[in-house]
């Protein structure tokens, strides 16, 4: 992979950004609630420590990282695989606007008007690595594009770090592989700051779980939430079996929790929501 000429990047917003360390946070486009929460928290904490958070504006981990950085009041840079005037996925146009409004930038090595093409994204991943001082991978399954970014970082002698996940989750295969091969372990933002040689102060203790559900759950429903994981989806049948309850009843209770935003339904079943649902009770 040949390195693009960085002076040749197309950009919207403030580019190059102000001086400061840059950390790329990348990962799966379909993360678990756990991965999403970690990415968002890291984004926030790094931003508060003055780090510029770099990511790819994709679904999942990328978006969570950008959003976290914005929440932390920081500058974040989106490296795009399309022209900077083509926001992909389109659902992220609002996020792109927010990045620009917060003093960040959208950059791309591709000319304006370039539409999403599969073969462009690996090149984008190289660019992402080359403009960052470190690459942090959060949840990447086998063959994930995030692993290309990590590989690029390795070639470019940048720091590669990874967040561990559940050993049950297919989304941990890539990250655990990186850790086995010597990537730095990330348990909180301080781990990253230490590696890039920044003695910044992290205001929030990153070991604290991110914004937990703040609303009170009806007591009889709490029983079910305690059995749910934030990484591995469990089916209503699994929970019914554990609680020795009829599946119809458990399904109903889970639906009530879903209505409250306390659990999320995925293809394989239910996971505990880590972020507050859209609706407040």
């Amino acid at each position: 992979m040949s390195l693009p000429d960085l002076s040749d990047l197309h950009a919207r917003g403030r580019w190059p950004p102000p001086e400061g360390p840059r950390v790329a946070i990348v990962g799966s486009r379909r993360p678990s609630p756990y991965g999403e929460a970690v990415a968002e928290q890291l984004g926030t904490d790094l931003a508060r420590a003055g780090v510029i958070v770099v990511s790819g504006l994709a679904l999942g981990i990328d978006a969570a990282a950008h959003r976290g950085a914005l929440n932390g009041g920081g500058i974040t840079v989106a490296v795009m695989g399309t022209g900077v005037d083509v926001v992909y996925p389109a659902a992220h146009s609002r996020l792109a606007e927010e990045i620009l409004a917060a003093g960040g930038a959208l950059v791309s090595q591709f000319p304006d008007g370039t539409i999403p093409r599969r073969q462009n994204f690996p090149a984008r991943n190289w660019t992402m690595a080359s403009i960052s001082d470190a690459v942090v991978v959060v949840e990447a399954g086998q063959g994930s594009g995030a692993l290309i970014t990590a590989e690029a970082a390795l070639h470019l002698h940048k720091e590669v770090m990874a967040v561990p996940g559940s050993v049950f989750s297919p989304l941990s295969v890539g990250t655990h592989g990186l850790l086995r091969d010597g990537a730095g372990l990330v348990q909180n933002a301080r781990d990253i700051l230490a590696v890039i040689g920044l003695g910044g102060e992290v205001l929030d203790d990153p070991l604290l779980p991110p914004e937990r559900l703040r609303f009170a759950l009806r007591p009889e429903r709490d029983g079910i939430v305690a059995h749910l994981s934030d990484v591995l989806a469990l089916s209503a049948a699994d929970i019914a079996r554990k609680l020795q309850l009829p599946v119809a009843e458990v399904l109903g209770r889970l639906t009530a929790l879903e209505l409250d935003g306390a659990v999320r339904r995925q293809e394989a079943g239910y996971v505990r929501a880590l972020r507050r649902g859209k609706e407040r009770v």
Partner: protein, 503 residues
């Protein structure tokens, strides 16, 4: 020398009377068939001629004209062979046909009377239209004798039919076919006891059976979706006599009826391959349309595996039958209506590679691919499916440790009890309740209504989706033996709405 004999041709599950007139008069020796006969009927000329000669009867060496009235009705099929031959023979003998009698059957060259499709349909129609006696191929006599109030004369060959009419040697009428009653211990090919785990899908199957709801099973390959679907007929109540007759009529039309057991009490299960054509699924063909898979599944289960692989237009065509329980098909030969009242069970992978959400294998699809796949499934057809559940793959090594569930028998009993509640209350299954009657028959208390409305708002439910969830809640309450729908019933119903996404 003129004789006239009655017969009929089938138009879907109805028939039209055909008067077969034979006239032998002086002139050159020709045999003409007039009266809009299709090729298959014109070919009868040779069969009729040989059959008459080989039955020891005289074939006119004169100008012979057979007219099939009414002339505007196009006639197809070989069922008119027998009435034509009888008309010719009677004309030669200067005898009248027996009154209020109709003839149906194909002839072999030696005069044997052979099977024709749809004898049951014809016998039912003829009885309703005042005929008292039908002459049918001996092989189809049991089938025709399912119909009460019509004398069935089994015809082995042309000579014995003529001997019967002239009174030389009367044929013994076929005794009415007594429907063999459904036995309590009827064994089904697939029993729920073979399904390990999958409690959610089992419950959904029970709800589907109880309320007549359509069901979508979503899960990776090898999760057991097909097995679950095949268990559905076994938890449905046996067919009623009238339903069994409807099922038998469709089979009769297709020549699919077993002559040993013309009336079957188990519900049909049809699983067409995803390459099925529009004509194959909905019905069709040249001339008059033949019933398709949806009509073969009438009163039973239509299973569509790999729903996303079916042609989009084929699936679109399912909408009307799903809604009204029958299908009207127009072809060059005219328009026919077939019953198509079935429970749809569809199965699909969650994504193109099939492994999204699987615990052991990672899904390799991009979010965009999954989106496109889901979109292909969504829309009007999915909107008509009440229950959507995920089916998870149970790895082989874990299969043994999965709890065994109930067998089909107790589930079927609950289903029958729940169906009885519905029929006593409203005369139809919950899935067929129109919104106005739903409001009347399934009143919601304040908490239930609020929950349903909250979900509807959160997930931007269509009015149709709203009513579907409501109907499913009605069924959940009926399975509970409860007249009043509670919040837990609504919540369970919403739990089967896998595809609603928060706005």
């Amino acid at each position: 020398m003129l004789a006239s004999v009655d017969s009929c041709v089938l138009v879907g599950l109805e028939a039209r009377r055909v008067e077969v007139q034979a006239d032998a008069s002086t002139g050159s020796v020709v045999f003409n068939i007039v009266g809009l006969a299709a090729t298959s009927v014109k070919e009868a000329r040779e069969r009729v001629r040989s059959a008459i000669r080989n039955s020891g009867l005289e074939f006119p060496r004169q100008r012979l004209t057979v007219n099939l009235a009414p002339a505007e009705l196009r006639k197809e099929g070989s069922g008119l062979d027998l009435p034509m031959a009888v008309a010719v023979a009677l004309a030669m003998m200067r005898k009248a046909a027996p009154p209020r009698s109709a003839f149906l059957g194909e002839l072999a060259l030696d005069g044997a009377v052979c099977h024709v499709d749809g004898v049951l349909v014809a016998a039912r129609w003829l009885r309703r239209h005042g005929f008292e006696r039908v002459f049918v191929p001996a092989s189809d006599a049991r089938e025709a004798a399912l119909i009460d109030g019509v004398e069935v004369i089994p015809c082995a060959d042309l000579a014995s039919v003529i001997a019967h009419i002239t009174g030389e040697q009367p044929i013994q009428p076929q005794p009415p076919t007594q429907p063999i009653l459904a036995t309590e211990t009827e064994a089904f090919e697939h029993d729920l006891i073979e399904v390990h785990g999958q409690e959610e899908a089992r419950r959904a199957l029970e709800v589907a059976a109880a309320g007549g709801h359509h069901l979508l099973l979503s899960g990776p390959p090898g999760a057991g979706k097909t097995m679950l679907a095949r268990c559905l007929p076994g938890i449905l109540p046996p067919l009623e006599l009238s339903e069994a007759l409807e099922v038998a009529q469709v089979r009769s039309l297709l020549g699919d009826l077993s002559s040993a057991k013309p009336l079957d009490w188990s519900r049909p299960f049809r699983a067409p391959h995803h390459g099925v054509s529009m004509a194959g699924l909905i019905g069709g063909g040249a001339g008059l349309a033949q019933p398709g898979e949806i009509s073969r599944a009438h009163q039973g289960v239509l299973f569509l595996d790999e729903l996303a692989e079916f042609q989009a237009n084929v699936l679109q065509a399912l909408r009307q039958p799903l809604e009204i329980g029958r299908v009207a098909i127009t072809r060059s030969g005219g328009s026919v209506t077939y019953p198509a009242h079935f429970t749809l069970v569809a199965a699909t992978n969650p994504c193109p590679c099939g492994w999204a959400g699987d615990g052991r294998r990672a899904c390799r699809c991009t979010p965009a691919m999954v989106d496109a796949y889901q979109r292909r499934l969504s829309g009007p057809l999915l909107d008509r499916i009440d229950l959507k559940v995920g089916v998870r793959r149970v790895p082989l090594d874990a299969l043994a440790s999965e709890p065994k569930g109930e067998s089909s028998a107790p589930v079927r009993e609950r289903v029958i009890a729940a169906r009885r509640r519905q029929l006593d209350r409203q005369g139809c299954l919950n899935a067929q309740l129109k919104p106005a009657r739903l409001r009347q028959m399934a009143a919601l208390d304040a908490a239930s209504r609020q929950t349903l409305e909250r979900w509807a708002e959160q997930r931007s439910l269509t009015a149709r989706g709203f009513h579907r969830a409501w109907r499913v809640a009605r069924t959940s309450a009926d399975l509970d033996g409860s007249e009043q729908i509670g919040e837990r019933h609504i919540l369970e119903a919403l739990g089967y709405r896998l595809n609603d996404v928060a706005a």
